[in-house]
């Protein structure tokens, strides 16, 4: 047993890290999807890039906690920018998201190019900041996974602790406000959980495609159940399934990034759920409609025959 573990140590670490981030982003993403804020995740993850590069540039350290703090700070700044634009101007929410996403990401790419020039920052070439674009699960070290586990567990615990409040916030925020719950504060807390879920996935999945892991498992899970608890559980399982299989697939070829493989696995889950889920799936709905129409036709024939 220990021989096997020694031999496959890297694979075990990578799979554990990938599975963990899949569970967290699937579970927390369910609330983002139900609140119709799927694209907020996209803005946060793209916006994290300049934060990562700046954190590295300022500290010259690639310790996971430093880079993740940079990512979280930039993700939060982007969220605040979106809210400020919506409140202060006549620009609508979706346009504000698009603007913020592209401006932050543009700055991120610019900074990344600057930092990676060995004449500017000699130690950058070995830091592997490039992997944050499309993700490389194989680069996960034990120390990375430990930080991810700490943050992920905290996010999940907070979600379970405020389960009732988050459900109220997602279903009927106005009623919640009338009951006296600080709805603004709950929104901030839930958004922070989304930021945490995204941040822990950036190294393995990358800023470009990380939002797929927030959205896809939740969308797939919604097809299979009508209960919030089961949906969150199922989304966590789907998320882990997508990340673990994505990490294994990308490890088969040394140049293959983990972001695309993970996203494709998650999309396959969504497609299968959209088509095949029992009551909401397209296949079964079509079949039910066809049966009903046939029954109606037969009933009409029977009437006419009388």
């Amino acid at each position: 047993m220990s021989d096997w573990l020694g031999e496959h140590y890297t694979l075990v670490i990578v799979a554990a890290g990938a599975g963990l981030l899949g569970v967290v982003s699937g579970a927390v993403g369910s609330f983002a999807v139900l609140r119709k804020q799927s694209l907020l995740g996209d803005a946060i993850s793209h916006a994290a890039l300049p934060g990562i590069v700046l954190a590295f540039y300022l500290t010259r350290s690639k310790a996971p906690i430093v880079l993740l703090l940079g990512a979280a700070g930039a993700g939060w700044a982007a969220t605040l920018a979106v809210l400020a634009i919506v409140r202060a101007s006549r620009i609508k929410y979706d346009s504000a998201l698009g603007l913020t996403l592209s401006v932050f990401f543009g700055w991120g790419l610019l900074l990344l190019t600057y930092v990676q020039n060995p004449r500017n920052v000699p130690e950058a070439s070995k830091a592997g900041l490039n992997t944050f674009l499309f993700g490389q699960a194989a680069t996960l070290l034990e120390s990375d996974v430990l930080v991810m586990a700490g943050l992920g567990t905290a996010a999940l615990l907070l979600m379970l602790l405020f389960w009732k409040e988050f459900k109220l916030l997602s279903f009927d925020p106005e009623f919640g406000a009338a009951l006296g719950f600080p709805i603004r504060g709950l929104e901030v807390l839930l958004t922070s959980l989304v930021v945490m879920a995204i941040v822990i996935g950036l190294q393995a999945v990358g800023v470009v495609l990380m939002s797929a892991l927030v959205i896809a498992p939740a969308v797939a899970a919604r097809q299979w159940t009508d209960r919030l608890g089961r949906m969150v559980l199922l989304a966590a399982l789907f998320g882990a399934g997508a990340t673990v299989s994505g990490a294994v697939l990308s490890s088969l070829s040394p140049r293959l990034s983990t972001g695309p493989t993970t996203t494709l696995c998650a999309s396959a889950l969504v497609l299968a759920s959209l088509l095949g889920a029992p009551s909401r799936g397209l296949v079964w709905r079509r079949l039910r409609q066809w049966r009903q129409r046939r029954q109606l036709r037969e009933a009409r024939h029977a009437c006419l025959a009388d």
Partner: protein, 258 residues
């Protein structure tokens, strides 16, 4: 005057504006305890905003609202709220019982989850609105009238002294309308105060004993028999209230409903 009991709702000098356009202008509004009150007026006349201002959901430009003599913030547990049902996503993954249980979230406070006592209360409230057999039904499968009754049951679980309801009769079937009005009358019989944003002028004299006519300004407020007159309606709606026939001025002149 001092002997008069505290009014259920007392609003003074209330002005609310969205983007500098006043929606409510200098409202002084009082609703006594133990009445079934209708708030009527044209669309955009500020009916919903008036309820939300009392509930602290919109920030007024001026004025204040008291519930049973004190600011709403101190009286939350005494107020029940039924929002318009189209304000929520009915495809949310939850069932009828779960939504009704939300009525006790305020009492439970942070983190605590509903237990046996709360489930019993929720089922009792569902029984009152004739929905107990649908307790486990997914909410997307409900009709409009059933959804309205779920919202009413959720408010009943709040066990409030003053109820504020936004258009509970909007687009519901006749069965639901009868079920709702019966519940409202029970509440009044138990000494509770119920304020309903209403749109069907025909049923005002039959259902309510107090009426508020609102069109940005408060046009009239008082017992239905005194203030629900053709002249007040014309002032409120600008002559196009489409209510025929108007016979005399008092409620007694209304054609009764079959």
């Amino acid at each position: 005057m001092n002997a008069a009991p505290t009014p259920a709702i007392e609003v003074t000098d209330l002005t609310v504006a969205y983007d500098e356009r006043p929606v409510l202008w200098d409202i002084d509004w009082t609703v006594p305890q133990g009445v079934l009150a209708a708030v009527v007026g044209p669309n955009g006349g500020g009916k919903t905003t008036l309820l939300k201002a009392v509930l602290g959901l919109v920030r007024p430009a001026a004025g204040q609202a008291l519930v049973l003599g004190r600011p709403y913030r101190e009286q939350r547990r005494l107020v029940g709220y039924v929002p318009q049902r189209r304000t929520v996503d009915w495809d949310f993954p939850t069932n009828v019982l779960d939504v009704v249980l939300m009525g006790c979230y305020g009492r439970l406070g942070w983190i605590r989850r509903p237990g046996k006592a709360e489930h019993a209360q929720a089922l009792a409230a569902l029984d009152k609105v004739g929905m107990v057999h649908l307790a486990r039904r997914q909410i997307s499968q409900l009709s409009g009238g059933q959804r309205q009754r779920v919202f009413l049951a959720r408010a009943l679980v709040e066990d409030a002294q003053v109820y504020l309801m936004d258009e509970p009769f909007q687009g519901v079937d006749a069965t639901t309308e009868r079920a709702i009005i019966e519940v409202l009358r029970d509440l009044r019989a138990a000494g509770r105060t119920v304020v309903v944003v209403h749109h069907d002028l025909q049923t005002v004299p039959e259902y309510f004993d107090w009426v508020t006519l609102l069109n940005v300004q408060l046009m009239a407020n008082g017992p239905v028999a005194d203030v629900f007159t053709e002249e007040n309606l014309r002032r409120t709606y600008g002559g196009r209230h489409g209510l025929l026939p108007i016979a005399g001025s008092a409620a007694g002149g209304w054609p009764g409903k079959p």
